[in-house]
């Protein structure tokens, strides 16, 4: 389909008119690149459904709750994105997050020999996650053991460590304010506004920088209106979130943590050589290797990211309850995190997807969990719904992939 018009080389595709851009997007859609469309439709549908079912769902108080509920899984899902991008899987993130929860609790434990300040405990827990990720990644990269098995073993080992550490007391209370603030601190209303302003300004600056850079280089700049609409949309979204939160208590700090993680890793994946190489390894590890990319190092670093984010997620969970016990790391954390990434459009086959998908996927999973609780549905409804959405997301991914291949030749 693309070879039909050899004469109109560069000009046609880069036509700056709105119609041309929309047409190109439509072509991509038909070619299997559905982008974030299903996610947006999903979020709107779920919101509409629960708003209809429960008077409490669409309230500012519940929205602030939702941010706290989805934060841990979303952060872990960001790490999962990198592992999925290189075509691997990390099953250890659930119990690794639990181990990080226990670690952060242990290192702030008053009256023990390792009674460190909260921030030091937090740093140690993230470092532990990174270290476990590095070990798992090294085994996978150097020895070629399938990541499924290595991280399954990691899952069991982490679970065992949690039982061993908590064995005698069964529960550790968290008294450090710094640790508890991660999930419970609420930003002042003015700080919330400042965050929205800074976020929107950075977004606008980045878009402007790209536009000016391309213009100076004499390259097609794309449609200016679409760029402006995009900045206004995401900026407006940021202001809307702050406005809703400020209507009640304010923006929770953990929301800022999630935003920071998503923006940082989106930048890493989209704008740096490291990110480019991650996508290359996921697309074709052999092509990447022949191009001189250190494929082993990329693999290890992806597992380090996944481990670190599991660590941060664990800190968020521990902070939320102000204590840790034997249930930490279990339950649906692992599957929710992987589901969040996949629902967010990250391919299980590697090489396709965005970090921001983790945020949207995390939001969908968080909304279902939050909504079913509000409606008072039985637990099975929550599981069946999440499962059905995950299945739909994976099916969509598989079909999209097939269509993309079919459109290729």
């Amino acid at each position: 389909m693309s070879t039909a018009a050899p004469a109109e080389v560069q000009a046609a595709a880069h036509g700056d008119s709105l119609a041309a851009v929309l047409r190109a997007r439509w072509e991509a859609l038909k070619g299997g690149d559905v982008g974030s469309l299903p996610v947006i439709v999903g979020i709107i549908a779920i919101t509409a459904f629960f708003t209809y079912k429960s008077p409490y769902f669409f309230t500012s108080v519940n929205f602030v709750n939702l941010i706290g509920q989805m934060a841990g899984v979303t952060v872990i899902a960001v790490g999962i994105v990198f592992v999925l991008l290189i075509g691997e899987i990390d099953l250890s993130v659930g119990y690794l997050s639990g181990l990080a929860s226990v670690t952060v609790a242990e290192f702030q434990l008053a009256g023990s020999s390792h009674d460190y300040p909260g921030l030091v405990a937090i740093a140690l827990a993230i470092l532990l996650g990174a270290g476990v990720g590095a070990v798992q990644g090294s085994i996978i990269a150097f020895l070629g053991v399938p990541s499924f098995v290595v991280t399954l073993a990691g899952l069991l080992i982490c679970q065992g460590m949690i039982i061993e550490i908590l064995g005698t007391q069964g529960v550790i209370g968290i008294t450090s304010n710094q640790v508890n603030d991660v999930s419970n601190y609420i930003l002042s209303k003015n700080t919330g506004w400042i965050v929205a302003i800074v976020f929107t300004s950075l977004l606008a600056l980045a878009s402007l920088g790209t536009y000016v850079g391309r213009r100076r280089a004499g390259l097609p700049t794309g449609n200016l209106i679409i760029a402006i609409v995009r900045v206004l949309f995401y900026g407006g979204l940021a202001f809307a979130v702050v406005a809703v939160c400020n209507h009640t208590r304010g923006v929770p700090l953990v929301g800022l943590v999630v935003l920071f993680v998503v923006v940082l890793f989106s930048y890493l994946a989209g704008r740096t050589t490291f990110g480019r190489h991650v996508y290359a390894v996921g697309g074709s590890a052999e092509a990447a290797r022949r191009a001189g990319i250190n494929v082993k190092l990329i693999r290890i670093l992806c597992f380090v990211i996944s481990g670190s984010m599991a660590g941060l997620g664990g800190i968020i969970f521990a902070s939320r309850l102000n204590s840790v016990d034997l249930t930490f790391g279990g339950g649906t954390i692992l599957l929710d995190s992987i589901s969040a990434a996949v629902i967010g459009g990250v391919s299980l086959f590697g090489g396709r997807g965005r970090v921001s998908g983790a945020l949207f996927g995390g939001l969908i999973i968080g909304m279902i969990s939050n909504g079913t609780d509000l409606v008072g549905s039985a637990d099975w409804v929550k599981y069946v719904t999440t499962g059905a959405i995950l299945l739909a997301a994976v099916t969509l991914d598989t079909v999209a992939r097939r269509r993309q291949v079919a459109a290729g030749r």
């Binding site: 850079g213 740096t272 092509a287 022949r290």
Partner: protein, 255 residues
Amino acid sequence: MSTAVNPVTLELREVFKSFGSVEALRGVDFEVRNGEVMALVGDNGAGKSTLIKCVAGIYSIDGGDVYFDGERVVIHGPKDAAKLGIEVVYQDLALCDNLDVVQNMFLGRENHDPIFRLREAPMEQRTAETLKSLSVTTIRSVRQPVATLSGGQRQSVAVARAVLWNNRVVFLDEPTAALGVAQTRQVLDLVKRLGEQGLSVVIVSHNLTDVFEVADRITVLRLGRNVGVYERDKTTEQEIVRAITVGTAPEAAAS
């Protein structure tokens, strides 16, 4: 035969390479001169692919020497080969389907600032320029994923990638194998253009018609050895076929 006086760019002397008990290369000699199109032919298993991968740094050689511009060099990996200016376009093209044309052209050698932020604009600019200089006009947008390109377009991207880096020696592994008539024509023209620009081109092909059209000289490999180097103008397809299938005494073939 202006190439006869040109200096040798890349030379292999007595190169050995084996995989376990299988000896793929048994003391191969090979050379290519500046601005020359050298064909590398041989039956399946003659060692053509192994030779390419040794020069590209994919395999390390077990014995023998490699000389570049007359200096002895050791190629430890793809980066060393790239540094010398040796580029290989593989039969499977080694493209990442999920990345776009620009991203593939600069794969592993991205233009970035000191803190590893990508500089997209200059990369896109040079990609467009290079494709234009090679008269590759069928690719609509350099920002479309390689997965959406046709076989000929993918080949063009792979060859353009080799040219982009001002390389000294370009290996083309079966560049016309999967192409139709018109696209084969384009690629052969491209190969000639590379030679005229002063690059050393090594083209591996089973298609002797293609070989005789573009090559200045022809090296025949058989069972991991060099059985002869022939001037295109002083040999025939029959002679090459005989060398490929039954081999010839090395002293008789030396030209």
